[in-house]
């Protein structure tokens, strides 16, 4: 699901191009692979169409207030999802702020610093982070991380950062442990391997001549990285970070288990329990007793699908661009 995206494949060059006089076996075989390939657009088309049709009643009823208001009240059939969207954005941003620098740092370690004997084991271990099912992150977050956040991290943040102007507002209120900050921390761990593996490949793809050019000018290793490697790899790394963002936006179980799932209003404090779009779906689908409630839940999925498609599309574009290298560099 979150494998490294491949750059667009070069135009394939099938060996046999002779179609006329193609024997029956070939025609049947080729047609059946086309049919199987056609299943994919069919699935995606059905998925998008069905979700849109089923979500339409709620979207039509609420109009813009579906995205702009914060009242989610199935009993009075009011469906505003602004706080779900807010929770999704906030937790994903926390994940990026905490996870992306560490992920890129780990990628730099693997690509530039690690001695040969250490490179393989460390990259294997980081890949293992991607293999762990999200329910296990959820379990660990639920029983280990959330209590730790409540008892140690959050009181610390409230005491030392809380009194500061502006950013202090982020760390105010009671520390409950199951809140947006904890969800963000879990997501940071989960998106780390995605970003690291792509950033590592991208950094490895930076031509050695670029490194040598910088080193020969008397650059230290770090200056070589900031002067030659990172600028060259920038677009691709941003692409990797955005793929990580795509994963964070859609992640469900781990977040559901640590975010508290209370329909609080939008407040600046990260210590507030909240909802993300995904966790709201997971929490409410079983209660969808009326058609409009059902429609509203599907509509949340439509919004989520739309947002992740845009983020993932941009990410791929950046990585593909990077795979081709900066313009005009080839001579």
């Amino acid at each position: 699901m979150h494998a490294i995206p491949d750059p667009p494949a070069p135009a394939p060059q099938p060996v046999a191009q002779r179609r006329s006089g193609e024997n029956v076996g070939d025609r049947v075989f080729r047609s059946s692979t086309i049919v199987l390939a056609a299943v994919n657009p069919l699935i995606l088309g059905m998925l998008a169409l069905l979700l849109f049709i089923d979500g339409w009643p709620a979207l039509q009823k609420e109009g813009l207030s579906f995205l702009a208001t914060t009242t989610w009240d199935p009993v009075f059939t009011e469906f505003g999802t602004a706080h779900f969207i807010f929770g999704t954005i906030v937790t994903s941003l926390i994940a990026l702020v905490l996870g992306a620098p560490i992920a890129v740092g780990a990628a730099l370690f693997l690509a530039e610093y690690a001695p040969d004997w250490l490179r393989e084991p460390v990259s294997y271990i980081i890949e293992m982070l991607a293999v762990i099912p999200s329910i296990i992150y959820g379990l660990w977050g639920f029983f280990v991380l959330a209590p730790f956040m409540r008892a140690t991290v959050e009181p610390f943040l409230r005491e030392y950062i809380g009194p500061l102007p502006v950013i202090g507002a982020l760390f105010s209120g009671p520390a409950v442990g199951k809140d947006m900050l904890t969800a963000g921390v879990i997501l940071a761990i989960m998106i780390l391997p995605t970003i690291t593996s792509i950033a590592r490949e991208i950094i490895k793809a930076v031509p050695d001549q670029q490194r040598e050019g910088m080193v020969a000018l008397g650059a230290t290793k770090w200056e070589m990285i900031t002067g030659a490697v990172l600028p060259y790899a920038r677009a691709g790394i941003v692409g990797g970070v955005m793929l990580g963002l795509g994963r964070a936006l859609g992640e469900t179980m781990a977040v559901t288990m640590v975010i508290g799932n209370s329909s609080a209003q939008i407040t600046p404090s990260l210590f507030n329990p909240g909802y993300t779009m995904a966790s709201a779906i997971a929490n409410q689908f079983r209660e969808a007793d009326s058609d409009i409630y059902f429609s509203a839940i599907v509509a949340v999925a439509v919004v989520l699908l739309f947002v992740t498609a845009i983020v993932n599309g941009l990410a791929r574009l950046l990585i593909w661009k990077m795979a081709r290298g900066p313009v005009g560099l080839r001579i």
Partner: protein
């Protein structure tokens, strides 16, 4: 401090140059008038356990062009990469022996590779301007690393270096375009400008024309002859005509039985090409192998 040193060096240059000319004409009869700019003593270089250089010793004269020639794989690139400690950047690479630059051993225990490279410029086989930097930023990249941020001074250095690299007239209106937007030959001269902006003691060139077309190659060769006035240049080339055209002295290298590079013969370019002392040199020069 550095500037003071350079003024002095330039003054010395003024005095030495006439002597150097005579030296080049009657090399063998005269003692070298100045201390060598680079002295390589018993240099061995390794990639892992593979020995790439076998006990190479030679002295490079200041303000001259020294060409290193030989068939591919003979260690000529490794030799120049040892002179600014770029060799050890490759994983598993190491070197032993002494390399004196201005009388100082760059492999001394307290020597710092970053400082070495700052004082010894290098131009690579493939032009490698930094694509995310403009032409101007490329030239002053090294100075900015040193924390020099005075814009006026950087602009002065950039213009002077670009003029020296015979590139100023072609790029003075494109200073803010990406360095990668220039032609291949221009990119290589940009890289030369980038190296000489640091006012290095020695300028190393590792097959600087091998990726360029003939016209661009001629421009670089002209440039090398001009730069000899101000820099000590060591150029690796697989092109014997090029060595003959641009260099004052030539070193010929060859692989020994264990595929390690050895220095076979070293002398004035005229002597190497017209009167080689070693049979192997003669064989290579006359095109019998390589």
């Amino acid at each position: 401090m550095r500037n003071a040193r350079y003024t002095k060096a330039n003054m010395m240059g003024e005095e030495i140059r006439p002597i150097m000319v005579t030296v080049r004409e009657s090399e063998e009869t005269l003692e070298a008038p100045s201390a060598p700019a680079v002295t390589v003593e018993h240099l061995n270089a390794y990639y892992g356990t593979f020995r790439a250089l076998n006990d190479v010793s030679l002295e490079i004269r200041a303000r001259s062009v020294t060409a290193v020639i030989g068939p591919s794989g003979c260690g000529k690139s490794t030799l120049v990469r040892c002179i600014n400690r770029m060799h050890e950047v490759a994983p598993g690479a190491s070197a032993s022996g002494r390399v004196l630059v201005s009388g100082e051993d760059i492999y001394a225990p307290d020597s710092d590779p970053v400082q070495v490279r700052r004082h010894i410029g290098m131009v690579f086989q493939k032009p490698n301007p930094f694509p995310m930097m403009s032409v101007w930023q490329n030239v002053v990249a090294g100075l900015r690393l040193e924390g020099i941020s005075d814009k006026k001074r950087l602009e002065e250095v950039a213009e002077r270096s670009l003029r020296k690299a015979a590139l100023w007239d072609e790029v003075k209106d494109k200073l803010h375009m990406s360095g990668a937007a220039l032609s291949g030959g221009q990119q290589q001269r940009l890289c030369i400008a980038r190296a000489i902006a640091m006012e290095p003691e020695v300028l190393l060139m590792d097959e600087p024309c091998s990726a360029l077309d003939p016209v661009a190659t001629i421009k670089i060769e002209d440039l090398i002859r001009e730069l000899r006035e101000s820099f000590t240049i060591i150029i690796v080339t697989h092109n014997m005509q090029q060595a003959a055209r641009v260099s004052d002295r030539t070193a010929f290298m060859l692989m020994d039985e264990e595929r390690a590079g050895q220095l076979i013969e070293y002398g004035s370019t005229a002597q190497i090409f017209t009167n080689p002392q070693d049979k192997r040199t003669e064989g290579y020069i006359t095109g019998r192998f390589g």
